[in-house]
Symmetry: C2
Subunit: 596 residues, 2 copies
């Protein structure tokens, strides 16, 4: 097939779009792949639609190989199923809600667990119908607070979402692995390097959850990995608690004057100057117990304060806290919060005073006191004494304080020991490109999806959910494949196989180009032909580079010597070949025979 | 490719869905093609998605042949462009409107003229860029008051909508014909008989407009056609005015007592009894002038009364009136309306009294008086005298009455003369399957789409709009291709090429079926194989008929004699063939080689 630029809907732009923050956004708009319609909402122009279609086809192939069947759900759905699972509220402002002419509540679905569950409930009733994996490639909606970065985080976006249905845990494991394997094949075919990391499973109510991250310093997700093979999203990190220490024989807690020490650093300085360690070593921030007051805004509109005690050398990681306290929204406590609790002395908060424990047992104060997992029994701390200008020294966990529970919300740091014992971890950044998830029975229970097992007994179905953001993947590929002159697509997803440029006004050039184009078409290539008669070579080369089809043929002055040039967009090499051999040479050199 | 029922997402249902009003809805749900999610909103199951994909592919092929380029717009769009063209309001309750988290108004697009216009304005600026035809296949939304009839009129539906852009009227004509020709090819390939009828162009502001109707007695649209080739939707009908008659010499109008004649029939009876015609013939309803009071609810919230005078043997056709008075909504005047206008005497309304004209010149009464085109100068009428129990006889148009204009809103009847002089028309019914439309410059003017012409002068672009309802077409094909046992797909859109049934529990039967399936796959057929081991032949045959793949191969008892049966779903013929020849026989008999 041959498409001619003189008869194509394409306009490349010289200027970057003013709202573009990332390179994929800039280049996809400038090269004529997409066009903005509203914040985070884009139209797909012919070039973009072709790339999107190729990515979708690779995903479809691998879903079919994994035994999944394609269906298609509407974007516009009724409120009720999402009400049953609580997500109508949980999604908060992120959900597009509307009413129809009769006043019924509808939503634009951000994800489809509920209706897939109900569909299977509607149609299936026996273990014989299972296992089942079904998927769709479909446009989804999320009302992002800051839609930006082009397609990387849009308000309308295309996803492949698959769901598996089993009646045993072993079945779910097998369905999960089939999808996980398919994802590995998909990302390999797309040329996307990936790391599979453990991800937070809590918010969706499931058990096993892994993310496919593309490792890149500009990624928005942080993950950790150990040389021994551990890899996890920081949100999924579990802190390894150190062994407990004997309490017996430790000196009693003492309160000391520590005026003007509202920060950890000032406290450490004063402690070293006025109350040095008995062993002669210096106090460090790690010897202090920092008590951070967080406000949780619950879905029911209530606001709750919690205090987290953690080693003074670490900060609370708000993303980890969001996971720990989901679905509540988290923020630092405000002056107004403190005003309601005069017992909390800012800068000097602690779980103990000279009269004994003052936090813990929420019933007494209305505030939960939670501890970092490192604060094990027998550890000794310097911490606030709940009096302005005073701190407790030698406060021993398990003896001097009471906690309402654990809060594993401290930042993870390079060198921290992996929870599986595989050694210290390093921190890295990545972009999420896929997510596989064992939902377990949460949705099936909420919506009543049960089947009869071999013994005629009703059992609740166990599910998995597996997502790839198609439009996000496209943006990531663009983000990774470009240079200062434009895009450089991998062959598997390039909008056309070969780009042919005829330069100059000489009829011989256009005749040679037509001949090459005919040969390429006969060889099965999908060709985009710049046949514009009155455009300068400079503009034509610029467009060829901007558009980024990896194989380019230039018909120029060389045609008088019977040659055209093969231009490799990625290496920038130009190789002259006889006009009649251009197609055969490209055919022989094609890395991926599927694409031609 | 082979798909096995033991590993497929399919459940046929014995019962019709309770809300199904039409056969396509019943069968598509029962046979496992679609599943309802909300009124007028459906999920597509694997079988349905395959049929939909085949229809879309035929449309894509023909759009490409017609030189149109595919793009894809979002469903969720900002209010502003629709505000500029007035359609944000004009759509009334039919538009799904919503707000985002920042309070901006958004809509789910029912059609995309505005944003296609803006896209071209964004990117193109010269006559050299034109002509341009671009299209999308995309999910659209309309909040129908009575979503019913399954996919025939849904609230979410898939459309192919194309738009052409030209800078000359001749260019628009050519672009229009290219789309019109493509539609003829599409419907021919889909096996859908069609009639091309003139359609109302007014509401969209354009000039030429034609609908493709599939003629069927159960169609929801009425159209007329003459033996001489005229065909039009009744909404587009233009009444041929008869020649005027000389006024001079006609007797003056006289008012007669006609008590108890509030209806046309009672009036005709009294006229014949008490005031017979001078020529001895009988008065008929066609001699009376009926004056119908309509209320127009305008978009700005105001309510206007108009009176339409038309021959007493015809009624107002409200659909035609809706077109004539668009975008106002029409209803019959209510008692409250009459109460506000005591001058209107129900049953005796007319344009004249003994003191002269009483209607016409809206400024005098606040009510426009409009006449049917048949009421030409010199025609003489019996009509109300604006006094209870009195009528005027011999009221002559052009002499005794004043009108504010023409209202061509009377019903069209079989035998009416076609407006192009091609003879009397007959009435027929049809289902709309496509619409081609010359929008002209309305959208380009409203949104400022201009290009520089050959002389460097800015000219406004002229546009066309061309629509096919993909999901509606699918339903219509299902509506037309079925019998009491289920669906019977045309080969071009059947979800699979061949359905293979293995009946009984005999291993030899399954071996023979496997052998046929392998041969079919090797021959390039896409096969659905009912390999369920423990299902009775009756259930299997029932499912085969319900699902409706037109070519069925049955492996049954005959395999002991080395034969299977080829079952033609449409003719119900069963032909035994040797096991090894089944695939070749089907290949030879395939009507459409493209489908295999």
């Amino acid at each position: 097939m041959v498409t001619r630029l003189t008869n194509y809907f394409l306009k490349t732009l010289r200027e970057d779009p003013s709202d573009a923050e990332v390179i994929s956004h800039r280049l996809l708009v400038r090269a004529g792949y997409i066009r903005r319609q509203a914040p985070g909402i884009f139209a797909w122009l012919p070039l973009g639609l072709k790339v999107k279609g190729k990515i979708e086809q690779i995903i479809r192939d691998e879903m079919t190989r994994a035994g999944a069947h394609e269906v298609h759900f509407p974007a516009l759905l009724p409120r009720e199923p999402y009400e049953v699972t609580g997500r109508w509220d949980e999604y908060g402002d992120g959900l597009f809600r509307l009413k129809d002419r009769k006043g019924s509540d509808l939503l634009l679905a951000p994800t489809h667990e509920e209706v897939f569950t109900l569909l299977v409930k509607d149609l299936y009733s026996s273990y014989k119908d299972l296992p089942l994996s079904i998927y769709q490639i479909q446009d989804k909606y999320r009302d992002e607070a800051r839609p930006r970065a082009g397609l990387l985080r849009g308000r309308e976006f295309t996803m492949k979402d698959a769901y598996s249905f089993d009646y045993t845990d072993a079945g779910l494991d097998a369905s999960y692995m089939a999808q996980r394997d398919a994802y590995e094949r998909i990302f390999t075919r797309l040329g996307l390097e990936y790391v599979i990391v453990q991800a937070d499973a809590g918010a969706m109510g499931g058990s096993r959850s892994e993310e496919f991250l593309h490792p890149t310093p500009v990624g928005e997700d942080t993950f950790v990995r150990s040389a021994g093979g551990y890899a996890a999203n920081v949100e999924a990190w579990t802190t390894l608690a150190p062994p407990a220490i004997a309490i017996e024989g430790q000196a009693p807690a003492e309160v000391h004057d520590t005026p003007n020490t509202p920060t950890i650093q000032t406290l450490v300085d004063v402690a070293n100057a006025e109350h040095p360690r008995e062993d002669g070593a210096a106090w460090t921030a790690a010897d202090t117990l920092k008590n951070v007051v967080l406000a949780l805004n619950h879905l029911d509109g209530t606001r709750e304060l919690v205090i987290v005690g953690l080693p003074g050398d670490r900060d609370v990681d708000l993303k980890r806290a969001e996971v720990a306290f989901a679905p509540a929204e988290i923020e630092a406590a405000t002056e107004a919060d403190f005003a309601k609790h005069p017992g909390l002395v800012k800068g000097y908060i602690g779980p103990w005073s000279e009269n004994g424990p003052v936090l813990g047992e929420k019933s007494a104060t209305g505030i939960r006191y939670l501890l970092d997992p490192r604060v094990v029994d027998g550890t000794s701390w310097i911490t606030g004494a709940n009096v302005d200008g005073k701190h407790v020294f030698g406060l021993v966990a398990g003896r001097d304080l009471t906690a309402d529970g654990i809060a594993d919300v401290a930042e993870v740091r390079a060198g921290d020991p992996a929870p599986d014992g595989s050694g210290p971890v390093e921190l890295a950044r990545g972009m999420e490109i896929g997510h596989v998830f064992q939902l377990g029975r949460k949705y099936a229970e909420a919506l009543g999806l049960k089947v009869l097992d071999e013994n005629g007994k009703l059992v609740t179905v166990t599910m998995g959910s597996y997502g790839i953001g198609v439009t996000r993947i496209l943006a990531i590929i663009a983000e990774l494949n470009n240079d200062e002159n434009g895009l450089i697509w991998p062959e598997t997803v390039a909008p056309f196989d070969v780009y042919v440029v005829a330069t100059g006004r000489d009829a011989a050039v256009f005749e040679a180009a037509e001949s090459v184009v005919a040969d390429l078409e006969a060889a099965g290539f999908d060709v985009l032909f710049d046949d514009r008669p009155k455009v300068s070579p400079g503009v034509k080369f610029g467009d060829a580079e901007l558009i980024g089809i990896p194989k380019i043929v230039i018909a120029g002055r060389g045609v008088t010597d019977g040659v055209v040039e093969l231009w490799d967009r990625r290496t920038n090499e130009r190789t002259p070949v006889p006009i009649g051999e251009a197609a055969a040479t490209l055919k022989a050199g094609s890395k991926d025979s599927q694409s031609v």
